[in-house]
Each structure stands twice: as structure tokens, then as C-alpha cells.
């Protein structure tokens, strides 16, 4: 540790020594207002609870940092730059004084977030995410973590402060580690606090500390620390749990401030969904994902909290007229690019390294990770390398969880014919028949048929739907055969149940499975009860998919929708009101 670091460490130690004096024994507090004592007791209890969730992460000679437990079965959030030197297995300590083996689960290198799983218990104490948009400047908050790697007894340091700023945008350090929409605090955030929690006065997690403004005094706190917001973490939690190598979202367009202060499109890719939906140069961006856009920073803040692949509402103004669209967000990086960043990492380490614990010069990082790392016994069977994933093992864990929910919602396996019939909202009747071999739809405009055993992209039937029959075939196959048996199906994290009603504070998220099979690619959204709520199906890449939204459920069979709304791009194909439905058991 350098000299300023040592000095700061001794100051921290001195303050720690003061604390028992300040906390006092009840006997010593005679004459103190009861309300003050009660508030003190509440605060001590709040900090005690948060302390129990704080993780000290040891990443070998390269340093270490902090983390915070999020579930009883040991999932813990931290920073990408904290776990990066550790590889896939690490040792973590809790305030109970015990060491736990942990395995890397998911990485979001752009957002500087990592998810690890502590092993060996199913009753870990854990923190809960607050609505970080409700946080106000002036709110009391505190950080729990491992600054200067002081916690040799594994008990975290607590530093108190206030929220100094909200919705801060911090430019990427190098090409990655962008801190968008982050919370600024004057609670001391020092090297080693990285990855630890920032808690509100009720002990709820409002963010993950990961960055601080350092300048002329060296790498010690100068009153400006930054935490990744809880709402961003909530958006990415599903992707991280799924063991993905997570990417952030881009609109495929850049914005700039016009002379009159409006935020306008300054460049746009003609391959982007926004372009296909009609967004053009000089359009004024009014809102994105349900949040107003008044500055370029606000635009970047909103985008920075969203995972690649989400569909969100975008409002823009052209010639004084406000228009809205749903737009699909692409990834910022090519998958190989992210893999390179994770493997090399020199850049990120320059940006925000954990401190060397012993003052020795930092070992030069290896140019690449070992492709097949030697795993400690504790994490054997919990790690599988695969391109595009941080840890493919956990993708299977999540996929199986969703499969179980799907199977539960579907009741007994019903592998026979599925028949749904009813009326179209625009008038006329429809009848859909789905089986292992064939899919048929009768519409007032005619009958369409699809061979369910052949390639599904041959003809996107019925005409104009973009592939509704193929989407229904995919739905039935996932439900009857299970996700593991259908093509290449991966768990894609979570997304808003209804993108139009997106809740910026991250309310209603559902699981997403991504399937590539028989020439088509589908994304299927499944709610926690296992009911399918939406299917997007592409018969060709870079074209508008067929989008089916399942609305409501049938009372006699909750696996089936009460209504299906079918859309392709901006064009509505039809709203199908299901009046009769039957799934037969089949006799295979």
C-alpha cells in the first residue's frame, strides 16, 4: 500500500476505535433523549443486518474487493474489475468469520458488474434491492465493504455519508466500465470498497460501489464515490444468473444537443431496429424506456441501465408531432469483443484496479486466461466454459428452472393435438390446430398450413404475420418436449413482461428463453408461474419478427391464453380471442 493509503488506513482504524465510544453502553447514555437512543438502536441494527450480507472477496495476489449477498443460496453481486483477476473460482469471507468457496456466475464487463455464487449454505443472509430512482440527494446512506483490504477478520468496514448526486453519468474508462445513471455519495469509497453495497437508512441496497473520483491525492477517497444503481442491477440480474457474458444496449443511433437544447439523432445505422421503425436524422428524442430525455447524458443514462435485446418504448418528435414506437435494442459489442475484454483486461485494470494488498508491484496480467482453468474441488461441476457465456453451467441451471415452471403450468404432458378457436377482434372466426406433424390456421382470409417436421422458415405463414404458425409450433414444442430438447435453447435473462408498460424501477420482469431450431429463431417470454406471455419469432435475421403476446389465461387450462395479439413491426396482424381450447394428451 502506498503512503497516502497507509495514512488513510490508519485514519479509518482511528475512527473504528472511536465507534465503541460513540455507540456507548446504555448506562453511559443517561440523560440522552429516548428518541435519540431509539434511532441509534435502529441504526445499529440496520448496519448489523447489512454487515451480515457483506462479502470480502479475495482475488489472490492481484488484490480483491467487496461484494454483497443477494439470495439465501449465495448469489452475490460485485464488480467485474474485482473478480477479473480471480478467474472462475475465488475465496470469499463473511462477517461470521468463515471463508466460503465461490464460483463466478455472470459478468457484465461494460457495466462493471459480476455475479458470483458462494457455496456451502442455503441460508445466507442477503440484501434486498431498493428502488434507486426513489433515492434523493441528501438521503443518509452507508457503504459496507473491504477498503484497503483491511478486513482480515472478514468483518466489513462501514462508512457513512449522504447521497451527493443521482443519475450521474461517468464516461467509460477505456472502452468499457461505463457508469451510467449511477449514485454519487460522500460516504468514503476507497480502493477495496469496489463491489460492496451502498445501503439506504433502512438497510436496503441502493447500489454497488465501484468507482470514485481520484485526483491529486492519489487513490484515496476525496468525497466522490459512485455506485451502480439498484435499478440497473435488477435489469441485469437475470442475465447474470444465466451465466451470460452480458452486453449493454445500443439504439443503433447517437444523439447530440442541438443549438436550441433539444436532444436530436445525430447518426443512425440503417440496420438498426430504430431505423426500421422510422427514426431518422434530426428527430428529437423525447423519452426512452419510459423516462424523459432532456439531455444527452439522460439518454446515455437510460441506455446504460438496459441489457442488449430488450424492447423498449421510444418517443420522438418530428415537425412538432410526437410519435411513439417500440424499439429493439442491439448489443454494444460483438460477442468476441466482450470475450477479448474479459480475457485481456489490462484496460479495465488501469481504470480501476483493486489495490495491491502488500505494496508489491502488481504482477503483469497474463495476456489471456487459461482456456481450461484448473478448478478447485469445491467448484468442480459448477463451471463450464463456452463462447458467449461467463459460465454456461448456470445457463443450464436457469433453463432447467424455467423448464420446470413451464411443465408445472402445463400440467400433465399433453402431446396430442392442440386446438384453439374463437373470434378475431376485427370480426370473423379463427381455428388453430397444432400437432407434432402439422400446424393449420383457418382465417376468414383463408387457410394456412405448415409442416411442423420440416424447416419452419420456408414460408412465414399465414401471409403477413411474419411466421405466426412457426411461432405457435415453437411454443408447443417447448411446452411438450421441454426447452432442453428443442434445438439450441438458452436462457437469455429477464425482460419486461409488457415493454409498452415498462417500469423504470424494474417491476414486472419475466424469463426469456432463446431458441434456434429448424431455420427460425425465437424468443419466448415465460412468467414466474410458467405461463408463456410472449413469443417473438424470426424467420430471417435483420427482419421484423412475428410478435405474439399472450394476454390473460384460460380458466380451464392456465397454460393457454385468453387472447393472442399478433403483430409484425408496426403492423397489427390480428387480435385472437380464444373462446374454445383443448389440448389432448396424445398416445405416443
Amino acid at each position: 500500500m502506498n503512503a497516502p493509503g497507509r495514512r488513510a488506513a490508519s485514519i479509518v482504524a482511528a475512527l473504528a476505535a472511536l465507534l465503541p465510544v460513540a455507540a456507548g453502553r446504555p448506562g453511559a447514555a443517561a440523560g440522552v433523549d429516548q428518541a435519540v437512543l431509539a434511532a441509534e438502536a435502529r441504526r445499529v441494527e440496520t448496519i448489523r443486518r447489512a454487515t451480515a450480507t457483506a462479502v470480502a472477496i479475495f482475488a489472490g495476489a492481484e488484490g480483491g474487493g467487496s461484494g454483497v449477498l443477494m439470495t439465501a443460496d449465495g448469489y452475490a453481486l460485485t464488480n467485474f474489475h474485482v473478480v477479473q483477476p480471480a478467474g472462475v473460482a475465488m475465496t470469499c469471507g463473511l462477517a461470521d468469520g468463515r471463508l466460503y468457496d465461490a464460483v463466478l456466475v455472470g459478468l457484465d464487463p461494460t457495466g462493471d458488474v459480476a455475479l458470483v455464487k458462494l457455496l456451502g449454505r442455503d441460508d445466507f443472509p442477503f440484501a434486498t434491492l431498493a428502488d434507486s430512482d426513489a433515492v434523493e440527494v441528501g438521503d443518509w446512506c452507508f457503504a459496507a465493504g473491504n477498503p484497503f483490504l483491511l478486513a482480515t477478520d472478514l468483518v466489513p468496514s462501514i462508512s457513512a455519508g449522504i447521497v451527493s448526486g443521482t443519475h450521474r453519468y461517468q464516461f467509460p474508462a477505456g472502452t468499457i466500465l461505463e457508469y451510467a445513471d449511477c449514485i454519487q455519495t460522500d460516504a468514503a469509497i476507497n480502493p477495496g470498497n469496489s463491489g460492496g453495497g451502498l445501503f439506504d437508512s433502512a438497510g436496503r441496497l441502493i447500489g454497488i460501489n465501484g468507482r470514485a473520483s481520484f485526483e491529486k491525492r492519489g487513490r484515496v477517497n476525496v468525497g466522490a464515490g459512485y455506485a451502480i444503481s439498484a435499478n440497473q442491477l435488477r435489469n441485469f440480474m437475470g442475465c447474470l444468473r444465466g451465466g451470460l457474458l452480458v452486453d449493454h444496449a445500443t439504439l443503433g443511433a447517437t444523439v447530440a444537443t442541438a443549438a436550441d437544447g433539444r436532444v436530436v439523432v445525430s447518426d443512425i445505422l440503417d440496420t438498426s431496429d430504430a431505423w426500421r421503425r422510422g427514426l431518422r436524422y434530426d428527430d428529437e428524442i423525447v423519452s426512452l424506456a419510459g423516462r424523459p430525455v432532456r439531455t444527452v447524458n439522460a439518454f446515455k443514462n437510460i441506455l446504460g441501465t438496459l441489457p442488449a435485446g430488450w424492447q423498449v418504448p421510444l418517443a420522438y418528435r418530428r415537425d412538432g408531432r410526437r410519435q411513439e414506437m417500440l424499439v429493439r435494442l442491439a448489443g454494444v459489442h460483438a460477442p468476441a469483443e466482450l470475450a477479448r475484454i474479459v480475457a485481456a483486461g489490462d484496460e479495465s485494470r488501469q481504470a480501476e484496479p483493486a489495490p495491491p494488498p502488500d505494496g508489491k508491484p502488481r504482477r503483469q496480467p497474463a495476456a489471456r486466461q487459461q482456456p481450461e482453468p484448473l478448478l478447485p474441488d469445491a467448484v468442480r461441476g459448477l463451471y463450464e466454459a463456452r463462447p458467449g457465456f461467463t459460465n454456461h453451467h448456470f445457463n443450464l441451471v436457469e433453463r432447467d428452472r424455467v423448464a420446470k415452471a413451464l411443465a408445472t403450468a402445463g400440467g400433465a404432458p399433453r402431446r396430442g393435438e392442440w386446438v384453439l378457436s374463437g373470434t378475431l377482434a376485427t370480426g370473423g372466426e379463427f381455428r388453430i390446430e397444432l400437432s407434432d406433424t402439422v400446424a393449420t390456421i383457418d382465417l376468414p382470409t383463408g387457410t394456412s398450413t405448415l409442416d411442423a417436421t420440416a424447416e419452419l422458415d420456408a414460408s412465414p405463414e399465414p401471409p403477413g404475420s411474419g411466421g405466426m404458425l412457426a411461432a405457435l409450433v415453437l411454443w408447443r414444442r417447448l411446452a411438450t418436449e421441454g426447452p432442453a430438447a428443442v434445438g439450441r435453447t438458452i436462457y437469455r435473462g429477464t425482460a419486461p413482461r409488457d415493454p409498452r408498460a415498462i417500469d423504470p424501477s424494474g417491476g414486472d420482469l419475466v424469463d426469456v428463453l432463446e431458441t434456434a431450431v429448424a431455420g427460425v429463431e425465437g424468443r419466448v417470454a415465460i412468467d414466474p408461474e410458467g405461463a408463456v406471455v410472449g413469443i417473438d419469432l424470426w424467420t430471417a435475421p435483420d427482419q421484423d419478427p412475428c410478435e405474439i403476446r399472450f394476454v390473460g389465461r384460460r380458466e380451464d387450462d392456465p397454460a393457454l391464453p385468453a387472447r393472442m395479439v399478433v403483430q409484425r413491426g408496426p403492423e397489427s396482424f390480428g387480435t385472437f380471442v380464444v373462446e374454445r381450447a383443448e389440448r389432448t394428451g396424445g398416445d405416443r
Binding site: 472511536l18 460513540a22 428518541a35 435519540v36 434511532a39 441509534e40 435502529r42 441504526r43 434523493e136 440527494v137 441528501g138 438521503d139 443518509w140 457513512a160 455519508g161 449522504i162 447521497v163 451527493s164 448526486g165 443521482t166 443519475h167 450521474r168 453519468y169 461517468q170 454519487q184 460522500d186 437508512s201 473520483s213 485526483e215 491529486k216 491525492r217 477517497n221 476525496v222 468525497g223 466522490a224 437544447g261 432532456r294 439531455t295 447524458n297
Partner: protein, 339 residues
């Protein structure tokens, strides 16, 4: 020291109660929200390391008068002022109080939220809880709210500080704070009390002359009032005094050419053998062009620049010798001769 420790302990008390506000005080969130509207972001000259091109300022009249620190940021043709609501104005420099290093700016606007100088509370004692509001590190852009830091006035002491080699001209009492306000962009920011009243202005990025540490301090409201009055009345310049005593380079063993002209160029005439100048390799006919990186053009300028260094500061000269630049280190500056 004891006074500082007592102030720190007082600072802990409100924290124990789990809130920043006392029983009869408004919520800190609303206090900060209200006061932050009266703090502006200023953008001007600079951009080099250690010389940021931005700082903070305080609105002191509804029609756009702004108080800030006098600094190199203001040395700009174009001085931009961004209000809390994101509106951007071009600011005009009205005047400077060189002693307090205060400046008054003016923007063309009306009905602005502001701190009324005539209503500022009297001097506040050590132990007073405060919130510092400034655009430190320039993290607040456009309509983004400036940074809020909570702190305590730890001491009220005379300012003894310097910036680089130069002694800070102001020697009056300032508020020393227990929070880190000495950061790029902070100077000119507001220090408010628990009710949101302006008690001071965050000072420039200075180091303590005694300890060499970066000082977290604020200029008290009384100095803001006196300084802005001096500027607006127009006698601020008269207040300015160059209090730096010249330092004779003979004390380093360097004899410069006789100071016969108004602007005698600082040529070296001779060197005392065995002196610091001789050891460093300074030679007759060298032309001194910089002291400690600061350009000097006259013999008097050299003496002034050497005087600006503290005793023990390294004396670094840049000289021109036969058409080439030569850097010389004469070691620590000795004590100056008694006048």
C-alpha cells in the same frame, strides 16, 4: 487540535440520530434541493492538468449577479454559466477582489433563485453542520444538480495557504471543513447550513503553508459581502497588495546583472564559488527565463518569483545558455534576508 476533535465528535451526534436534521430543522433533502438551485456551473479557460476549465459560482441577485472565486478559469473571452435548470448564459466579468480572490460575474437573466447577501447569517461557530454544494469534478452537466457533501465546520482559523509557489493573498479567518471540498470544480461553490442559508463559499484549491496538505476551507459570508461590495464600488484593486517579499538570488550564490533598467533582463553576472548556484552548474551569462516553471522576464521578476517560494521549497531554474534551454536544480531555498 482539541477544538477540531470536539467538532468531529459533535458531527457524530446527528448521525447517531439517523438523520442529518435536528428536531426543528427542515429535511436535508429539501434544503439541498432548494440551495442547489442557487449554485451555477462555470466554464472558461483551462483544461490542462491541475488547471481545470470549470468551477462553481453562487447566484446572489435575482437578476443574475454571481459570486465566484477569482481564478484562471475566468481568463477567457467566453465564460459560460449553466444554471441548475440547464439554461446556459454567457457571463461577463464585473470585477475582481484580488485580496480575497473573489470575482463578481453578471448574466442577463431575471427571476433567478439566489442567496440574498444582506440576509446572510453572522459568523457560525466550529461544530456547525453544513452542506457543501459545488460542481466538483464537473460531474454535473446541463440540468444535473451539483454535488452535495455533508460536513462540519471543524475550525475557524486564519488562512495560511499557497498555490504552487505563490502565497495566497488572503490571511483572514476561514472555515476549515471536515469534508473533502478541495477538488477540481469545487471552488466558488456554496456552503450552507442546515436551513439552507449561505454561510460561506468554497475556496480555491490551496495547500496549507504549514503542513503542505490540501486545505478544505470556505470563505465566510462576511468576506463575501465585503468582497462583493469592494468590487461593485470599484475600490477592490486598491485592496490588492503584493505581500510577497523579494528574495535576493545572492543568497543562493547567483549575482545577476545590476538592475539599471525598468525591465532589466535577468542575466547572471557571476557565481560565488562553492555556492548552491555553483553546485547546480549555473554560469555567468545564463539568462534566467523561468523559476519553478513560472516564466520570468526581468531581474525583479526573478526576485519576486524566488520570494514566492517557501523556505525549503526546491529552487528550479530554467536558463538559456548559448541558445539552448537548460534546467537547473539549486536545491532547497534558504531563509530570506530580514528586510
Amino acid at each position: 487540535m482539541i477544538r477540531t476533535a470536539a467538532a468531529c465528535f459533535m458531527a457524530l451526534l446527528p448521525c447517531l440520530a439517523g438523520t442529518l436534521a435536528g428536531a426543528d430543522e427542515p429535511a436535508p433533502q429539501s434544503v439541498i434541493a432548494g440551495a442547489a438551485r442557487k449554485v451555477v456551473k462555470l466554464y472558461g479557460a483551462g483544461g490542462l492538468r491541475g488547471l481545470e476549465a470549470y468551477q462553481s459560482g453562487i447566484l446572489v441577485s435575482p437578476d443574475g449577479r454571481i459570486l465566484t472565486v477569482a481564478s484562471t478559469v475566468l481568463d477567457s473571452e467566453q465564460l459560460d454559466c449553466v444554471l441548475d435548470d440547464g439554461r446556459r448564459f454567457e457571463a461577463r466579468l464585473v470585477g475582481i477582489d484580488p485580496r480575497r480572490e473573489l470575482a463578481v460575474l453578471q448574466i442577463e437573466a431575471d427571476d433567478l433563485p439566489c442567496f440574498a447577501l444582506e440576509e446572510l447569517p453572522a459568523a457560525v461557530p466550529p461544530g456547525t453542520r453544513v452542506v457543501a454544494l459545488s460542481n466538483m469534478f464537473g460531474v454535473a452537466a446541463g440540468d444535473e444538480r451539483v454535488t452535495a457533501q455533508r460536513g462540519v465546520i471543524a475550525a475557524v482559523v486564519p488562512l495560511e495557504a499557497r498555490r504552487g509557489a505563490a502565497e495566497a493573498p488572503f490571511r483572514g479567518a476561514v472555515y476549515v471543513l471536515d469534508c473533502t471540498t478541495n477538488n477540481p470544480g469545487s471552488p466558488g461553490g456554496a456552503l450552507v447550513d442546515a436551513r439552507g442559508r449561505l454561510v460561506g463559499m468554497i475556496g480555491k484549491e490551496l495547500r496549507s503553508t504549514a503542513a503542505g496538505i490540501w486545505l478544505n476551507y470556505a470563505l465566510p459570508a462576511s468576506e463575501l459581502i465585503a468582497g462583493s461590495e469592494a468590487i461593485l464600488v470599484g475600490d477592490a484593486a486598491a485592496v490588492a497588495t503584493a505581500e510577497i517579499a523579494p528574495f535576493d538570488p545572492r543568497l543562493l550564490g547567483a549575482i545577476l546583472v545590476p538592475d539599471l533598467l525598468d525591465r532589466t533582463p535577468p542575466f547572471v553576472e557571476s557565481i560565488d564559488p562553492g555556492s548552491a548556484a555553483a553546485r547546480a552548474g549555473l554560469a555567468a551569462d545564463d539568462l534566467v527565463i523561468a523559476v519553478g516553471g513560472r516564466t520570468v522576464t526581468t531581474r525583479a521578476g526573478v526576485e519576486q518569483a524566488l520570494g514566492g517560494l517557501a523556505e525549503g521549497d526546491p529552487v528550479k531554474l530554467t536558463v538559456i545558455r548559448r541558445g539552448s534551454l537548460v534546467e537547473l536544480d539549486l536545491g532547497p531555498r534558504p531563509r530570506g534576508a530580514k528586510p
